[in-house]
């Protein structure tokens, strides 16, 4: 490998379905609003892209408070996909986002197949959207509230329906709360997804022992943050081995080193979630820090880290003997 000086340019960009993203660091859905709330604190144009809060057809007020609990190295949330709805997004947020030199991936959540199609269909008519991330961790009201994300058939159906509606990058975001996440990843790939995002939050719970009540109004919620990083790495590793499309690695990323761990296990890009709340500029710091890391380690393209783990997989049987 050739030695790099501080003047040499590191290749940070990567391409998905013909779209070039500046770099491999994104902000995760629901943890950065619609990209405009903290414009005074963070220069989002230095990111690979912004992933919006999940949007549904109509605005959603969200769940009753309390919606947030801190746990050991993590947090639980039950925001309830509170969002302004796709129409307000188009009217109030998109015009500003269009003025920025940054990729905007719109995350969509819906309670029926039709709603998914309607939201994406409407967004297709707009300028300034780079691609879509589909949040399947939401209940299908038609099927008695069963989550789309834990039913492989439903998830495939959404993917192929949406695939027909767009030529833009289509990313399926999977829930980790299943036995074999790679089955879902393979099905999504087969149904036409361009990439897989892994992971959404783990189902978790916390109890106020004084009140003898759950600390979240919704009893259970989604666990995120550094606590889940080991689980996320294992899921990304499993998914990356089983599909040939790129994987977005998500879960507890708090530093350049964490991001490198995700690249090595096979993530083509990473998304920063909970840590945005702790430090709104963390994603930009990680994007910058990765260039620095590449320079120090004489890596000319961050992409060479992707899947570069030296792992002996013959231990697959032993491994279950935990």
């Amino acid at each position: 490998m050739n030695s790099l000086t501080s003047a040499d340019r590191i290749k940070t960009s990567f391409t998905l379905r013909g779209v070039e993203f500046k770099n491999r660091v994104f902000v995760a859905s629901g943890t950065f609003g619609y990209g405009d709330e903290v414009r005074d604190l963070v220069d989002v144009t230095r990111l690979g892209g912004i992933i919006t809060k999940s949007l549904s057809w109509k605005p959603r007020a969200g769940n009753p408070p309390p919606r947030i609990v801190e746990t050991a190295s993590g947090m639980l949330n039950s925001i309830g996909l509170a969002n302004i709805g796709v129409h307000a997004f188009i009217k109030d947020k998109l015009p500003y986002l269009r003025t920025l030199d940054v990729c905007v991936v719109v995350n969509i959540a819906a309670s029926s197949l039709e709603e998914f199609c309607d939201v994406l269909g409407l967004l297709e008519e707009q300028e300034g959207i780079t691609g879509y991330e589909i949040n399947v961790s939401c209940p299908n009201v038609r099927e008695g509230g069963m989550s789309f994300g834990t039913d492989c058939t439903m998830m495939s159906e959404i993917t192929s329906k949406l695939r027909k509606l767009t030529e833009k990058p289509l990313i399926i975001k999977l829930t980790p709360n299943v036995t074999h996440i790679s089955e879902f990843a393979r099905a999504a790939e087969l149904a036409g997804a361009d990439a897989i995002s892994v992971i959404n939050t783990l189902v978790g719970m916390a109890v106020d022992i004084k009140k003898r009540k759950p600390k979240l109004s919704t009893v259970t919620g989604g666990l995120s943050g550094p606590a889940i990083k080991p689980v996320a790495l294992a899921k990304v590793y499993e998914v990356a081995k089983s599909v040939s499309i790129p994987v977005f690695g998500i879960g507890g990323i708090a530093s350049v080193e964490d991001a490198v761990e995700f690249f090595l296990v096979g993530a083509a890009a990473v998304q920063i979630g909970t840590l945005n709340f702790v430090d709104p500029s963390i994603s930009v710091k990680i994007a910058d820090g990765l260039e620095q890391y590449a320079r120090e380690n004489k890596i000319s393209d961050i992409g060479t880290l992707v899947g570069a783990l030296d792992a002996d997989v013959t231990f697959s049987v032993l491994q279950s003997w935990l």
Partner: protein, 258 residues
């Protein structure tokens, strides 16, 4: 909106000023110059994220030149870490955040009503109201007298749950007993404290038909409007929520359902 910043700020001092109550002073030219009473700062208690993950919000208790004060109870890991800060230590602060009290409006006398550590924002508000020439009556309730820290407050009326100081009872009972009806047109109430107290205070203000602003707390993940964690139900708009960190922490008592 005042310009919020994220900064590493140098701690000037941190002292226990009453039972388990700490006054921490830190330096920030930027935050000090734009902060208004009722706003808060969001502080990372542990530099490296070890121990506590999320920031902790605190009302700005007072501003003197480029020095900000916060007043807090050491109740959990975050506040305990903060209580051990030494002069010269650096803390990561975002602020000023949220909406301030409205000290400008049509009133002559401010009734400040605080429960426990809810007294925190009022030294700052008092400075501001005095500048504007308002009369101030301050009602403060504590569980016990040892917790009282009331410096820079005006015309103090003290209540304690256990009767160890001042009026024996809640601060709302004290307020009821000392409230002179004919002032009401020109009075405004400013309240901060536990939710049960604020609920009672809002109810009191409604009964007396006095304008009342409350500073609320809420479970916050971010403190700057992106996580949607700090929801509080709006009174007007059924099933809609306001954000404590962005639309508050100061609300008209009639705006929200506590």
């Amino acid at each position: 909106m005042s310009t919020r910043v994220q900064q590493l700020c140098s701690v000037r001092s941190c002292q226990e000023v009453a039972e388990n109550t700490f006054l921490l002073r830190f330096i920030s030219q930027e935050i000090a110059s734009s902060a208004e009473p009722g706003q808060f700062v969001n502080i990372l208690a542990s530099g490296n994220g070890a121990g506590v993950l999320l920031r902790r919000p605190f009302s700005i208790s007072r501003v003197e030149k480029d020095i900000l004060e916060i007043l807090f109870h050491a109740i959990g890991p975050g506040t305990k870490l903060l209580s051990r800060k030494l002069p010269g230590n650096r803390i990561d602060v975002i602020g000023p955040l949220g909406q301030s009290f409205h000290g400008n409006a049509e009133f002559d006398t401010a009734f400040i009503v605080a429960g426990g550590i809810g007294v925190a924002p009022f030294p700052f508000l008092t400075d501001e109201l005095l500048k504007r020439g308002k009369r101030i009556e301050t009602f403060v309730g504590y569980r016990t007298a040892g917790q009282a820290f009331t410096s820079n407050l005006q015309h103090l009326h003290l209540a304690t749950d256990d009767g160890s100081g001042g009026f024996h009872g809640t601060v709302i009972q004290l307020l009821e007993s000392s409230f002179v009806q004919d002032h009401s047109g020109k009075i405004k109430i400013f309240g901060c404290g536990p939710t049960v107290m604020l609920k009672a205070l809002g109810e009191f203000a409604r009964r007396k038909q006095v304008c009342c602003e409350l500073s609320l707390e809420g479970q916050m993940a971010c403190g700057f409007g992106i996580c949607q964690g700090c929801a509080v139900e709006r009174a007007d708009d059924d099933g809609q929520y306001a954000l404590v960190c962005k639309d508050g922490p100061v609300f008209q008592s009639t705006e929200v359902n506590l």
